[in-house]
Symmetry: C2
Amino acid sequence: MLKVLKFGGTSVGTLDRIQNVADIIKTIKDDGHDVIAVVSAMSGQTNKLLEYAEHFSKSAMPNEIDMLLSSGERVTSALLSIALNEQGYKSTSMSGREAGIITNNDHTKARIESINTDNMKNAISDGKVIIVAGFQGISQHTSRVSTLGRGGSDLTAVAIAGAIKADVCEIYTDVDGIYTTDPRIEPKAKKLDKISYDEMLELASLGAKVLQNRSVEMAKKLNVNLVSRSSFTPEVEGTLITKEENIMEKPVVSGIALDKNQVRVGMYGVTDRPGIASLIFTALADSNINVDMIVQTVGVDGKTDLDFTIPTTDWEICKEVMKQFENDAENIDYNEAISKVSIVGVGMKSHTGVASKAFTALAKENINIRIISTSEIKISMIIEEKYSELAVRSLHDAYNLDK
Amino acid sequence: MLKVLKFGGTSVGTLDRIQNVADIIKTIKDDGHDVIAVVSAMSGQTNKLLEYAEHFSKSAMPNEIDMLLSSGERVTSALLSIALNEQGYKSTSMSGREAGIITNNDHTKARIESINTDNMKNAISDGKVIIVAGFQGISQHTSRVSTLGRGGSDLTAVAIAGAIKADVCEIYTDVDGIYTTDPRIEPKAKKLDKISYDEMLELASLGAKVLQNRSVEMAKKLNVNLVSRSSFTPEVEGTLITKEENIMEKPVVSGIALDKNQVRVGMYGVTDRPGIASLIFTALADSNINVDMIVQTVGVDGKTDLDFTIPTTDWEICKEVMKQFENDAENIDYNEAISKVSIVGVGMKSHTGVASKAFTALAKENINIRIISTSEIKISMIIEEKYSELAVRSLHDAYNLDK
């Protein structure tokens, strides 16, 4: 098999951790596989370089930031290659340029446009392990080094796996897979063997931080089998993220996600002038505020109550935007003490009674649901924040996720 | 004027020092000059990365060492460019590749083969200051990043100045020029305004550590006007190193150099078998031992005494090599307590009595000269080490170098 592996900053955070990664790669090579490993900068390095840049400028030119930051991954790739060679495994580091990664011109958040895999294919033919400096490519216009933004090394790995048609792309972090829910909240949480791209996307956007949506989306698009596993316990099989058709037994519910970083905005007694809701949400969208769940209730007096949630990070700017609508409502209030708990499962599509089971479980604990929203494979509920953990455990139990 | 500037590790060792370099460049730009600045890695960075590599391997592949080490200069070049832009001076960093520097394939000690100046010329036309990551290029065969070895950033600056026909190449360090002798030994030492390439080469090889011979040799070959000056006192004019024809008034003696890192090897009572000296010096050369001064005295009994000096660093290996000649001499001894003091001056060629003035000065202080060697522009003498400083001061005085 041809395996693309990705090791993040924590996995290569010290010289000992880099040696550990070399050992993981050796085991995989010894099993007869070809390996392309994508590495991040040693943890802390990128932030240190960013602080250096900020010492000089709060608005440094993006292409210089890229010149600066891309150095960290180059260091790790060279060190890992040196470690492997020392132990008799032929290897070569490759910068983004050498790995053939061409991006658009959007420095510090570039998009991969294409990958020329010739160089990598030649190295594989020569029996070499390839260590690619993640997070970077070269911009197609200027041929300068570019970086891919947050989660860029994951993206590098997935894109390479897609371009070179690797059998699998294994993302190594410090957790050993995707769990039915956060084990710190519910110790009975179980690691999933498999999960579909869509479920993973829902879980990730709901706060499961193992994989970023950008990478999962690309894996889905390129049909790359993604595995989430740990470099700290490489003997543990991780979770395979794959297309739904590859999952024989589709669980009704795969996992419970919790997101505490939401603020609920309530507009009460809104005068029902035409298009008022549209005006409000257009204004919020124009300020790049990510409105999540919306409920509108029209009273008998013709007045409307409008409830919606936004990420906590957008709170301040949201208050600014809402000032222009102050005269349209009797009252506008903000409630930070709420959280969003979500049930995700691809089997929901073909099962009924999934939602009512959730409502029953929460009712049994006297937890009020303030807003509900559903999609094909997800049910999200806004509840009081103090009930967060209790709600997660109740739901985990209600769907027998520990079995 | 087009000026190429070079700032070493100490000059860019902290964020404040980098800001200081930006200020120096701004002043030069404000005076109406175009600037290409070549920078080293922040001091300590290259050694840190080398230690990392050695953690994994004592014999890391040179091309991976280059991938590793070249990152340090990239960081400095990006930071300096950010600092300049922030203050309204258009600038761009360039890697060795972007600066068009092509080297041979000899990783970690590559030789510059050619420089394609198109990219730099375009940036200069755009009014930009160019910040080149020093010490690196790309190897002509593999197109991988290569590094130039010790003094590589100086070399980058001189080679660029030669290729782009710059008016001057200013090497900034923490000393403000070339002195008649080491001011720590002789406080009356004076900074030279001008010195010829050949004098500089002699002084450098004799222990004046400001400029390395590799760069001075290249400057001579490419006819680059080199200036040695300090980034700590940029208001002080440095020393111009140029071709002899550019120096109107040629001093008989320009400077006194001292080298304490020599060992004197004495072979006494050597049986005069044919070619014995040749055998010895061939064996030493084969072991890369740099034999410096040689004196051979043939006695009336047909036996020979052979005296020569080697660098202290070659002492151990020299002893190994000499074992095979143990039976050829009555006695072989090693004396580390010696030093070499040298008088350098291009005017010597046309003046007589220079050497005798030196002998008189040392005799007056009862300093015995053990070995003497002379070249067109240099007289070197081996003396007892304890007299080193006294000898330097006496000679400095004898040639009126403080005037």
